[in-house]
């Protein structure tokens, strides 16, 4: 039982990432009808927002400390980050330590702006073009974004550690009544899961309980009629694109401590997220979230030693296999609506 629970927990963090990216993809697809191959790149840019913030915070100046010498006997040069000199050493160090959570605040406006610029600058011109063209142009954009990041940050993964206080693991098993040391779980992965749930809840609440969200939902159901009622639906959809970009970006920011970001992490997640969207049902937001978590957990079960010894490599292909089976038996996906992408 505890082993079972452990596998479910293990699948949650990847599942959360899939769910967040797939949610953004579905939002864009449901509102604008565009398949965004650059969505993985947005996830990656989010992760690099955290890297950038960390670098900005550790910008430092050098002072010479005459009382100490380094191993060559020269006076020791001490690097002090500007942040530490402004806020005092302790607060400054704490700010640098908490750079990943702080990057969330930094990333939201950045990602909204990137999403807005992308929609207005490029995708707007592709609504009337065939889906193939949309796929191709966003694919090109993904390559460009990826290469730009590679140019500035290099090709190697960059460590983005979580704050000191949130490293290490907790004994989850003991908390819920199993014996000690049965379920040890890293804190950050737990945080990632709760964070994902919060973001997903936030997006759903926004769509469900605000007037803006209501109009957007109406637009998803029948764009033309909403337009005829004198509502500028295009502007709202642009904002939704920005929000979808922000969701992907936030997912990326928080994912950094789990897996050091590199420039092609987006592409790796993108393909799987598409599979998630298809399994969940094109255009269905709850479907995307559900499928994201399910596939993440499934992948974790396929990675157990029992599974990999019975069927070597099953963890690598299980998601694709499930996707194929689902598409053949339930072509609309788990929760797909009728009439989406069927004309």
């Amino acid at each position: 039982m505890d082993a079972f629970l452990l596998q479910i927990l293990n699948g949650l963090d990847k599942g959360s990432a899939y769910a967040l990216i797939a949610l953004g993809l579905t939002l864009i697809f449901g509102t604008l009808g565009v398949v965004n191959f650059a969505h993985g790149a947005l996830f990656m840019i989010g992760a690099f927002c955290a890297v950038t913030l960390e670098r900005l915070l550790t910008l430092s100046f050098e002072t010479i400390d005459p009382t100490k010498t380094d191993f060559l006997g020269n006076p020791l040069k001490v690097k002090t980050p500007y942040v530490e000199s402004w806020f005092g050493p302790e607060t400054g160090a704490a700010i640098i330590d908490w750079s990943v959570p702080l990057a969330l605040i930094f990333a939201i406006p950045v990602m909204l702006a990137i999403g807005y610029a992308m929609e207005r600058g490029l995708i707007k011109h592709f609504y009337k073009r065939p889906h193939a063209d949309q796929i191709l142009v966003t694919f090109g954009l993904a390559i460009v974004l990826q290469e730009v990041v590679k140019y500035f940050f290099g090709a190697n993964p960059i460590q983005t550690p979580p704050p000191e206080a949130l490293r290490g693991s907790v004994d989850l098993g003991q908390m819920i009544g199993f014996q000690a040391n049965a379920i040890i779980y890293p804190i950050w992965r737990l945080i990632y899961f709760f964070f994902a749930v919060a973001v997903i809840g936030g997006v759903f609440a926004f769509l469900q309980f605000t007037t803006f969200g209501m109009v957007v939902r109406a637009g998803m159901a029948d764009r033309e009629t909403v337009g005829l009622l004198g509502i500028n639906i295009d502007r709202r959809f642009t904002i939704m694109f920005g929000i979808a970009a922000a969701v992907a970006g936030l997912a990326g920011v928080m994912y950094g401590p789990l897996n050091p970001p590199n420039y092609h992490m987006g592409m790796d997640f993108l393909v799987l997220s598409f599979v998630v969207v298809v399994v969940g049902g094109m255009g269905s937001l709850p479907g995307a979230v559900l499928a994201g978590f399910l596939l993440g957990i499934l992948e974790s079960f396929a990675s157990t030693t029992w599974a990999t010894t019975t069927l070597p490599g099953i963890n690598q292909i299980i998601i694709y296999l499930v996707a194929i089976i689902i598409l053949l038996t339930r072509p609309r996906g788990l929760m797909g609506r009728k009439g989406v992408m069927e004309d």
């Binding site: 398949v35 490029l122 011109h125 073009r129 065939p130 889906h131 193939a132 063209d133 796929i135 191709l136 142009v137 694919f139 090109g140 954009l141 993904a142 390559i143 460009v144 990826q146 290469e147 730009v148 140019y151 592409m267 393909v271 598409f274 599979v275 969207v277 298809v278 094109m282 070597p312 490599g313 099953i314 690598q316 292909i317 694709y320 296999l321 996707a323 194929i324 598409l327 053949l328 072509p331 992408m341 004309d343």
Partner: protein
């Protein structure tokens, strides 16, 4: 001639002359001159032109005619390569059986994948093929290379070792892929003054194969079958309403283009007896899409042009470095020279992919018909005619 119309015959002859004289055409600059770096007439690169040309022509039969955008064609190329190397390992270094098997295996594999993916169209189809290709990549990269059952040799790539059986191999034959004793690496270099031209067996084998399959592609484009595929592209729904089942036609197109990809993979292995999983990655599939779009989707010559264009500039751009740039902009005043080098720097050398991505976006945005449409527009502009009425648009299957 050969059952082709007048225009098509001319096209085939032009392509034939170009490919067969490629060692001359691609080496316009004397060896050792400053411009020699723009020469492309060496065997390795010429082989790549032709092989990717075959790949793109095949892809175009699916995408250009039916509008089904597959993002998984690299899988067929990879499967073709693996089968060819297995022939080398088990039987003989002769390339004919290897190429034949790679076509057959890729055909069977695409039949399987096409049977499943073609149940859906539009975006679903693209994503399904993408998922299949990634699955094949994962299979080749790790799953099928465990000690118990090593089919692909994982990360190292499949290659021929000295202790492989090679039952029909004899000592008289070269220890490399060959055609009845004629090694693929055999190169005859001809010197004419400052110029040198190399004629490579492997290249000519590829060139002849490409001419054959190019001819086949023309026949397919002009056949009633090709007409049916175009009808699928323009309006599949209407086809279904007239009571016609389009699936056999699209499946046939899918398998044919998969076999073209397998052929390209087989030839690739024949030129260099090595097959790696990275050939199957989805970025490789993206590359062939790119070639087809860049050249001109749905045109005969477009994919070949696109493949040549991309492979040529990949080669050139990767070679240029800052020193070369300083040489180019040397005529400018010093400050300006550095600025120019600074601006161009991100796009060259390792930055080739950035250039490629930008190029791709620009082509899709401004020139959906690719180079061929660009050429036509240019020709019309020169002739001074208005272009609006005869512009054709490509519509995919929905």
């Amino acid at each position: 001639m050969l059952g082709l119309g007048k225009k098509d015959t001319t096209l085939l002859i032009v392509v034939a002359v170009l490919t067969l004289c490629a060692p001359f055409i691609l080496n316009p600059f004397p060896a050792g001159s400053a411009m020699a770096q723009f020469n492309a007439g060496y065997p390795d690169l010429m082989q790549r032109f032709v092989i990717f040309g075959i790949f793109a022509v095949g892809f175009n039969i699916l995408f250009g005619l039916t509008g089904y955008l597959s993002f998984g064609h690299a899988a067929f190329l990879g499967v073709g390569s693996y089968s060819a190397v297995w022939i080398f390992k088990l039987f003989t270094y002769n390339v004919l059986p290897a190429i034949a098997l790679s076509v057959v295996v890729a055909g069977l594999f695409s039949l399987l994948i096409g049977f499943v993916s073609l149940r859906r169209s539009g975006i679903y189809f693209s994503i399904l093929t993408l998922a299949f290709a990634q699955m094949s990549f994962a299979l080749a990269y790790s799953v099928l290379s465990n000690p118990k059952f090593n089919l692909t040799n994982g990360e190292t790539g499949l290659q021929v070792y000295t202790d492989d059986p090679q039952w029909f191999h004899s000592d008289r034959l070269p220890d490399l892929p060959h055609l009845f004793g004629l090694s693929m690496r055999a190169t005859h270099t001809m010197h004419m003054g400052d110029w040198s031209f190399s004629f490579n067996t492997g290249y000519y084998l590829c060139a002849v194969v490409m001419l054959l399959v190019f001819y086949l592609a023309i026949r397919i484009f002009r056949s009633p079958f090709g007409m049916m595929l175009r009808a699928v592209k323009s309006n599949q729904q209407r086809m279904n309403y007239t009571g016609l089942n389009t699936r056999p036609y699209t499946l046939a197109a899918f398998v044919i283009s998969g076999m073209y990809a397998g052929l390209a993979g087989g030839l690739m292995a024949a030129m260099d007896p090595l097959a790696g999983a990275e050939r199957m990655q989805w970025t490789a599939s993206g590359e062939v899409v790119l070639m087809t779009i860049l050249g001109g989707t749905g045109t005969l010559i477009g994919p070949v042009l696109g493949a040549g264009f991309i492979k040529y500039f990949e080669n050139i751009f990767s070679k240029i470095n800052d020193t070369v740039l300083h040489g180019w902009f040397g005529f400018l005043p010093d400050g300006l020279e550095d600025v120019m080098v600074f601006i161009v720097h991100p796009f060259i050398g390792k930055g080739w992919h950035l250039t490629l991505g930008l190029l791709f976006m620009l082509v899709v945005i401004f020139l959906p018909g690719g180079l061929v449409e660009g050429g036509q527009r240019l020709a019309r502009w020169i002739r001074g005619r208005r272009a609006e009425d005869s512009r054709r648009k490509t519509e995919p299957a929905e």
